[in-house]
């Protein structure tokens, strides 16, 4: 409440009008880059920056989904476990298809389709329980978080599900190659971000998400089908987790009970750092992108130096996160 009040008066971003609040996360990002440059001359290399962006792409894509969920006043704690289930399902299906389809892109594409499908179905499950069952999103997704996590443990029989190596070799370029020197994960991340920004700002769906998060009653009286819009946000979230996992599997080639642990926290953190309000009503996708990149850079910067004891990494992270948000809040008073 208190934290959201300052947004009230903020003008909507028409084009990219610069105001203080908008600048907040960008300033934090800039300071972080400055810190990186000071600490290590390799920081600004093309290699390092693409590394950081590519690896931020999973969380980034998931966080873009979370931006919609949170903007409409919801929450999804299950995304990390969902990612693990999707990865597991993709790997199992691909391994299982090899005898009939042989090694090749056919198998990979089938696996990808399964990934998106499982994500969508998981989203439908979450969304239905929340909208039709009228159970708090926190509880539903806490429950499915446990359920999904168990499921992947069960499927992997407590161990690891590994993708067949030959298929993995076919699939690998999806993470490691790119177009004109830009790795695919970054391209996909960028496309999802642009698409998300457009949906949020330029479509009725985005508008409805904000309206529902701001005041559900008002949305309802404006003949918005609140339940359907809510449901859609969870499905979108599920599908985007699927997309993220499409990029994740070629990188790690395996899934286990530890895949995706705590991704939900990171995704939500990215969303909030980016300026979306946790209680709903106001969300911005590009802010989320900046938030996620900030989180990615923190990890990178910690690896650039040996000054801070690795035991204190978490403390450094915590301080930066608070400062990044302080920067955008503090300016307004």
């Amino acid at each position: 409440m208190s934290a959201s009040a300052p947004d009230m008066a903020a003008k909507p971003a028409r084009g990219f009008r610069i105001d203080l609040k908008t600048a907040g996360p960008l300033v934090a990002l800039a300071l972080l880059v400055l810190l990186g440059v000071t600490l290590n001359e390799n920081f600004l290399t093309y290699n390092n920056l693409t590394n950081v962006l590519a690896r931020s792409s999973f969380i980034g894509i998931i966080a873009i989904g979370a931006t919609f969920v949170i903007t409409s006043g919801g929450l999804d704690l299950s995304v990390g476990s969902m990612a693990a289930v999707i990865a597991g399902a993709m790997i199992m299906v691909m391994n299982w298809l090899i005898p009939s389809m042989g090694i090749g892109w056919g198998v990979v594409l089938a696996g990808m389709a399964v990934g998106i499908l499982v994500g969508g179905v998981a989203g439908v499950g979450n969304g239905m329980m929340i909208t039709r069952g009228r159970i708090e999103a926190f509880i539903v997704t806490l429950g499915t978080m446990g359920i999904f996590r168990s499921l992947v443990t069960f499927l992997a029989n407590g161990g690891t599900l590994s993708l067949n190596f030959e298929v993995a070799d076919v699939y690998r370029p999806v993470y490691y190659d790119g177009l004109l020197g830009v790795p695919y994960p970054i391209i996909v991340f960028a496309l999802v971000a642009i698409g998300g920004e457009i949906v949020m700002r330029r479509t009725a769906f985005g508008r409805y998400c904000a309206a529902i998060g701001s005041n559900e009653q008002v949305a309802r009286y404006s003949s918005i089908n609140v339940d359907n819009v809510r449901l859609m946000t969870y499905i979108l979230q599920g599908v985007l987790v699927g997309v993220a996992v499409l990029l994740y599997v070629p990188r790690l080639g395996s899934a286990s009970s530890t895949t995706g642990v705590l991704w939900e926290l990171e995704a939500i953190a990215g969303v909030i750092i980016g300026g979306t309000t946790l209680k709903g009503g106001y969300g911005r996708v590009w802010g989320t992108v900046v938030g996620v990149v900030i989180l990615g850079l923190i990890g990178n910067i910690l690896n650039l130096q040996s000054l801070i004891s690795p035991y204190l990494n978490g403390a450094f992270q915590g301080v930066i996160i608070i400062l990044a948000v302080l920067l955008q809040r503090g300016r307004r008073r």
Partner: protein, 294 residues
């Protein structure tokens, strides 16, 4: 050897006692070697999960120009291709404890023996329970190393009269060891032995057994060689008569071997298997190290 050498060390975050030990011994080794070899630089990172650990080693290659990597992969299957990339970039790679999913990637493999830990424990149970009896098992986390230990143990006691009443995950954690053991004690009136697989779990279980006043009825076998347990073994405790070594100090061995290879040109290659030995009252003294926090 080069003038200036940089060695990257990547381990999982201290999310349970044993990995805590890994972090400790890695730091110890680094501090020690830094003073011995002023021209060696170390980059140390610990990561909570596989993507983070991959990110760490990517960063070591692209921003810290490491010459060698010593890695204890948290999730070896997920890490294999990333480690292979480091190798392909011409770095010397030492893998610790956990086997990668394709062979021939690492230059050096310093291995703990997970199946050995299970098998050695099973041997002990067989020797002290020749007529069989009821036991319970407190497992770690549902990850491959746990499965290796568990499967080897079950294979070891096969064909004996030892009955496993139930097994539950205690997550290599004292609090969970306490809870699970409390409930097992509630449920089973007759337990002769407890295989806790890990000393952190064992410490929690011991408290539960003491609370129930059943510490005369059973014994407990942990693993990993934690000082607190070793002390009890050395003191001849009836509750913890033995322990099975699985020292997190293996990371230090790996770092030392790698450093001496790079600096001293000493040839190291292939596999170093560090046995999981049974620690008894007689040999406990060899393993005691009062300065270790593990």
């Amino acid at each position: 050897a080069q003038d200036k050498v940089t060695i990257g060390v990547s381990v999982p975050a201290a999310d349970h006692g044993w990995t805590g030990g890994v972090n400790y011994f890695a730091q110890q080794a680094i501090d020690r070697l830094k003073t011995t070899y002023p021209n060696v630089d170390f980059v140390f990172a610990s990561a909570p999960d596989a993507p983070k650990q991959i990110a760490d080693i990517e960063d070591m290659v692209s921003t810290r120009n490491i010459d060698a990597l010593v890695i204890l992969p948290g999730d070896p299957d997920a890490m294999t291709s990333a480690i292979k990339q480091v190798k392909d970039a011409g770095k010397f790679v030492t893998v610790v404890d956990r086997q990668l999913s394709i062979s021939g990637v690492e230059n050096l493999y310093v291995a703990g023996d997970n199946p050995g830990l299970g098998a050695n424990s099973a041997e002990y149970f067989k020797s002290v329970m020749p007529d069989g009896g009821n036991i319970v098992i407190l497992r770690g986390l549902p990850i491959p190393i746990d499965a290796q230990r568990f499967d080897a143990f079950m294979a070891g006691i096969e064909g004996t009269n030892i009955t496993v009443l139930d097994d539950e995950f205690a997550n290599w954690n004292r609090d969970d060891g306490f809870k699970v053991m409390q409930d097992f004690l509630t449920r089973f009136p007759d337990i002769k032995g407890v295989w806790a697989q890990d000393d952190d779990i064992a410490l929690g279980a011991i408290e539960a057994i003491k609370q129930a006043g059943r510490d005369k009825e059973m014994f407990i076998v942990g693993g990993a060689g934690m000082q607190q347990i070793l002390q009890a073994v050395a003191d001849g405790s009836a509750l913890t008569p033995v322990d099975v070594s699985y020292s997190p100090a293996m990371i230090a061995t790996a770092i030392e071997l790698t450093t001496s290879h790079l600096v001293g040109g000493i040839q190291v290659a292939g596999r170093y298997i560090l046995d999981s030995t049974l620690i008894t009252k007689d040999n406990a003294a060899e393993f005691l190290d009062p300065s270790s926090p593990f």
